[in-house]
């Protein structure tokens, strides 16, 4: 068969071509020293990490690989040992994480606040008010559409707490107006825009969100809308392989004057997205 040499040539060429693409065109080699941080969608989607991580890397040479998930999922990722550090926003869940022994210390880092987003047409008549609990009660009375994250994220936990204070049993309301979508903050905002529904969002994601359509801030400024972020490094007693020293370096840096300044410096259109408060008692 005369085709034989050509055949092997073809095969060799194909092989070399494919592996060539596999290796030669690989992105610049990632630095050897890295940590994995499980964090929330708000810190990632708002662009905060793009702003602060290069500063941390320049100082320490450590690359930070961020997995952005809802707070509940991020904590579970760390519980399985798949992250070295968690940086999330649900105080009660974080304290439980420490209590279970997955971390030895939770440190407050920064805060911002939640805002109630709604359609301009304001079907529940709550726009411009400050009392979030009264606003939620009105939404329920009018059965105005409300989108819930429904993904065990920090924002979802905060929303459920507020409904509880309002005395509304959301579990019994699912369906007609209370719509659980089980997705991240951005997806929830996209959905609310399309449905003309109310939704609770952290302010940072809202400020950086680009597909607002008819959505506006309906309620803001209530003290109960406070949103605290905390950082914890994973306890090596639970997962011996975690990078304790480098993880601690990152947590130390976030709570140091330098890291705190980097957080405060991050702005979109002149608006500060996160307010550093490391070391504040009870935060």
């Amino acid at each position: 068969m005369t085709a034989l040499p050509r055949r092997s040539l073809l095969a060799a060429g194909l092989f070399l071509g494919l592996t060539g693409i596999a290796h030669a065109q690989a992105p610049a080699p990632a630095s050897e020293r890295f940590i994995t941080v499980a964090s929330t969608t708000s810190t990632q989607d708002s662009g905060l990490f793009n702003h602060i991580l290069p500063l941390f890397k320049a100082k320490t040479g450590i690359e930070v690989r961020v997995i952005s998930q809802g707070t509940g999922q991020a904590l579970d990722t760390a519980r399985r040992g798949d992250a070295d550090v968690v940086f999330v926003h649900a105080r009660a869940q974080e304290l439980k994480f420490v209590e279970e022994g997955f971390s030895t210390e939770r440190r407050p880092v920064m805060y911002n606040d939640f805002v109630l987003i709604g359609p301009k047409s304001d079907p529940a008549g709550v726009a411009g008010t400050r009392d979030i609990v009264a606003a939620l009660k009105k939404i329920q009375e009018k059965a105005a559409p409300f989108v819930s994250r429904g993904d065990k994220s920090g924002t979802h936990a905060a929303e459920l707490n507020l409904w509880k204070v309002a005395g509304v049993d959301t579990a019994a309301q699912k369906g007609p107006w209370y719509r659980e979508i089980g997705q991240g903050m951005g997806a929830a905002l996209n959905t609310s825009g399309a449905m003309g529904a109310y939704v609770l969002s952290d302010r940072a994601t809202w400020i950086s969100f680009k597909n607002r359509g008819d959505l506006v801030i309906s309620v803001e400024g209530d003290q109960r809308l406070f949103n605290q972020y905390g950082v914890m490094s994973v306890n090596p007693a639970k997962h011996p392989h975690v990078k304790v020293a480098d993880g601690k370096l990152f947590a130390d840096w976030l709570t140091s004057p330098e890291g705190q300044k980097a957080i405060a410096d991050y702005k979109i259109d002149g608006q500060q997205l996160f307010f550093p408060n490391a070391g504040q008692a009870g935060a």
Partner: protein, 233 residues
């Protein structure tokens, strides 16, 4: 939404040659093409062997492989995730949230397509040329290299189908890769991220670039097979 904004976003991405964007494109190609290559190295001989061999349970295996062509990517991703997680059986390898994990997940998605389509192609060829091949002394498994070579154009289409499945999917790579910026972010996970950030023109612009790449790779494969057909007759 303004259609012009989509093309503008796509154009800016390509013309700007932003290193972050190029990294995403290269990683997508690297993961997908490596997965297809591995699936081809395993799947072509295995599919051909399955076409020629006769053994009890063969029909059941063929049906299962055909069904696996419809395996939901998110299920494959979840299985690989649980396998590679630090709390899973292969945890000590530390492969979760790496490009290697993404390649593994995509091999699982592409392999059934390559095996099932190869089996069909080779079985048809075998029934056509069986007598001829036997007369030149090629029987049973020894006929596999010749059959694979003779079916190369149909098999190239099988590999392209596998490539299409791998390059288009987001469910598996998102779960096992973690969409880490500059490390495991691919075209499809970047599209997902930009959608959730509400930057729909950029998301669709990325989609346009991905489609163009797929088109280019298919055009290259088509051209190569044309040239091959002319010379190798």
């Amino acid at each position: 939404m303004d259609v012009g904004a989509i093309f503008q976003a796509a154009f800016a991405l390509v013309v700007g040659l932003d290193p972050g964007f190029l990294g995403i494109v290269f990683l997508s190609l690297r993961v997908t093409l490596t997965a297809v290559l591995i699936a081809a190295l395993i799947g072509l001989p295995l599919g051909a062997a399955l076409a020629l061999a006769r053994f009890p349970g063969r029909a059941a295996i063929i049906v299962c492989l055909n069904a696996l062509m419809g395996l939901p990517p998110v299920v494959a991703g979840l299985a690989v995730f649980l396998l590679l997680s630090r709390s899973g059986p292969l945890g000590p390898l530390g492969l979760l949230f790496t490009p290697t994990a993404m390649i593994i997940a995509q091999v699982i998605l592409v392999l059934p397509i390559v095996i099932a389509l190869t089996r069909q192609v080779i079985e048809d060829l075998w029934s056509e040329y069986r007598d001829h091949l036997r007369s030149v002394g090629l029987d049973g498994l020894r006929a596999i290299p010749t059959l694979l070579f003779d079916g190369r154009f149909a098999l190239a289409t099988a590999l392209l189908a596998g490539f299409g499945r791998a390059s288009a999917e987001v469910g598996a790579v998102l779960i096992v890769g973690g969409n880490i910026a500059g490390y495991t972010r691919t075209m499809t996970t970047a599209i997902t991220l930009e959608t959730s950030k509400g930057d729909l023109p950029l998301a669709l612009g990325l989609g346009l670039v991905l489609l163009s790449l797929t088109l280019a790779i298919n055009a290259i494969a088509f051209g190569a097979s044309r040239i091959g057909a002319r010379y190798a007759g």
